[in-house]
């Protein structure tokens, strides 16, 4: 029988060493070497992601086309509704609309780990744009007017996007039809939970859910009127304080290759 090695001293050495690195990294002292190393290693990860995406997209091209058409139609309906409301507001000499001065920065997805690749939704994305490109934590990420998520971590060259389906994502929203307000929360799967909708508010299945707008004075945050998805179920119980619902995004996050970061 082979003699067992004494591993406690080696464990303690690496434990202390790791804790030191962790502490130094938490204070941001290692951000530059980390960014450079990531820049050097990311082409490999990006290639693996692209290869997987290529094979999973091949089977879903017809579905992807239909999904794109659905998304485009939803966008048209929303634009029409917004236009109607603007006209009505102007006619009544009430609200005025302001054109948002926003610039979109295209970012390539280099990593999107999901439970079962190509089947389940990823929880976060790694994109190839970082603080060097003026990206800030909290910036909204979109694709064709659909909200994808927000930036939660960023270094010099790369950023992490927490998707709207992630349980750690939440945002205030409204319905397009009745302007009923609520809060969306990711659930981990493909669905998103709509909560905190007042019992008196009118919401129904197939209502389009838009962002309410949650930006700070610097413009960082989620702008209003971005598409979150469609309401697919409503749970209204008189005993509950709020109504609940399930929202499905119009996007298939597992097939995205490029997204756009809203910079101000």
């Amino acid at each position: 029988m082979p003699k067992k090695e004494n591993f406690t001293s080696i464990f303690l050495f690496f434990l202390i060493f790791t804790i030191i690195i962790f502490a130094v990294s938490k204070f941001g002292f290692l951000s530059l070497p980390t960014s450079i190393l990531q820049k050097a290693l990311s082409p490999l990860a990006g290639s693996v992601f692209s290869a997987f995406n290529f094979f999973s997209n091949e089977n879903n091209s017809a579905i992807a086309k239909l999904s794109d058409q659905n998304s485009a139609l939803a966008k048209k309906i929303i634009n029409e509704e917004i236009l109607k409301k603007e006209n009505s507001a102007l006619a009544d000499q009430f609200a005025t609309t302001s054109v948002r001065s926003q610039t979109l920065l295209a970012a390539k997805i280099v990593g999107a780990p999901s439970f079962i690749p190509g089947v389940s939704n990823p929880q976060s994305l790694i994109i190839d744009k970082g603080t060097k490109d003026n990206i800030k934590i909290g910036n909204a990420v979109i694709y064709k007017d659909n909200l994808v998520g927000k930036i939660t971590q960023s270094n010099l060259y790369f950023s992490k996007v927490t998707l709207i389906t992630n349980p750690y994502f939440s945002a205030t929203v409204k319905t397009l039809r009745t302007q009923a307000q609520g809060v969306i929360k990711g659930e981990g799967g493909k669905k998103i939970i709509l909560d905190n909708v007042l019992q008196s508010d009118d919401i129904k299945v197939s209502d389009v859910i838009l962002t309410k707008g949650d930006q700070d004075m610097k413009g960082i945050g989620i702008p209003p009127d971005l598409i979150v998805g469609k309401l697919i179920s409503v749970a209204k119980k008189p005993s509950n304080l709020f109504q609940k619902g399930e929202v499905s995004s119009l996007l298939d996050f597992s097939n995205l290759l490029t997204v756009f970061v809203i910079k101000y």
């Binding site: 082979p2 938490k26 990531q38 490999l44 997987f52 990593g111 929880q123 981990g188």
Partner: protein, 143 residues
Amino acid sequence: MWFFVILILVSVLLQVSVTTIPLVLLLFLNAVVVAKKTWIFPIAFLTGLALDILLLNPLGETSLFFVIFLFIILLYDKKFDIQTLPFVFLASFIGSFVYFIAFQISNIFVQSLISAAVATSSFYLLIQLNTFNIKGKARFNEA
């Protein structure tokens, strides 16, 4: 050894770009159960750093998890026989479960079960190949 390094590289690439299943953790679990050597600590430490860099986690987070996890596995080796399928299944399930909580990954229970199945199957494969002379110890010599 080269085979192990290639496996680590492939697992790291898959884990950072394609799947949330902790393939690297499962690989190290199999390695420590089979080899029971301390050289796994520096490799786990470096691989953890690579994962942190590519997944934009705070540097050292994954290394810390790996080092502590492997230490616990080796501690068990002092009292119990760890080269058994039930141990690998339980260790991979609990390890993955804690990993998913620590790194805020959803669908914890299902993913942990799948991880445990992956780890146990790969350990079973190692036993069948019998490269490390563990067939008898893992109680597979009856067949």
